[in-house]
């Protein structure tokens, strides 16, 4: 088994784990983190395609590598937007996407 294949399997597992979190977590922040996990796994798929496509003196196919860089930028922007949105929603007083709308403000430690 080549390292590329091994990390490809790892990517499949990352996607599965992230999907689990995305489906099950009730709070938006955890959903956003899970989305990032799936994203990482997805980028790795491009990475192993790149590694397997090593040719012409390159150690990897640069095209999917470039796509991953674009993808990482977009994923960051999405994360920042989602976090800004959920913090704003919190100020407006609705912490969960589908759970009960409000929690008391002073949870004691």
């Amino acid at each position: 088994m080549t390292p590329a294949t091994l990390y490809g399997l790892c990517a499949a597992a990352l996607v599965a784990i992230g999907l689990f979190g995305l489906i099950l977590h009730p709070t938006p922040l955890r959903k956003v983190i899970s989305f990032n996990l799936i994203g990482s796994g997805t980028f790795l798929f491009f990475g192993i395609a790149a590694r397997r496509g090593a040719a012409a003196g390159f150690l990897g196919d640069p095209v999917p590598q470039a796509m991953v860089i674009t993808g990482i930028v977009v994923a960051f922007a999405a994360t920042a937007l989602a976090v800004a949105l959920l913090l704003r929603m919190l100020e407006a007083g609705a912490p969960t996407v589908d759970g009960p709308p409000e929690q008391p403000d002073d949870l004691s430690p």
Binding site: D105, D106, P109
Partner: protein, 91 residues
């Protein structure tokens, strides 16, 4: 020599990887963040060992970036916490 350096990189990976146990056990967020810190340093060490062993000096830039941002997460962790008036109960 390259083999020795690659092996050294592998050993650093195993050693710092064990710090992951602290990330799981904690018990405090500070402990978990320290695990991240150790993994960051370890990552830098691995990168420079690989860079010199393989002759791919570009890999040194990875180590440079990791080192530059090493303290970043720790700084972020202490943001707004817990000095603010509304102290929270996490767990």
């Amino acid at each position: 020599m390259a083999e020795f350096l690659f092996a050294a990189a592998a050993i650093v990976l195993v050693l710092t990887g064990l710090a992951l146990v602290r990330m799981l056990w904690g018990p405090s967020p500070a402990d978990r963040m320290m695990a991240a810190q150790l993994l960051g340093t370890g990552g830098g060490a691995i990168a420079i060992l690989v860079a010199i062993a393989s002759g791919m000096t570009a890999v040194l830039d990875i180590a440079l970036t990791l080192a530059l941002l090493a303290a970043f997460a720790a700084v972020a962790l202490t943001l707004g916490e817990p000095g603010s008036k509304r102290r929270g109960g996490g767990e």
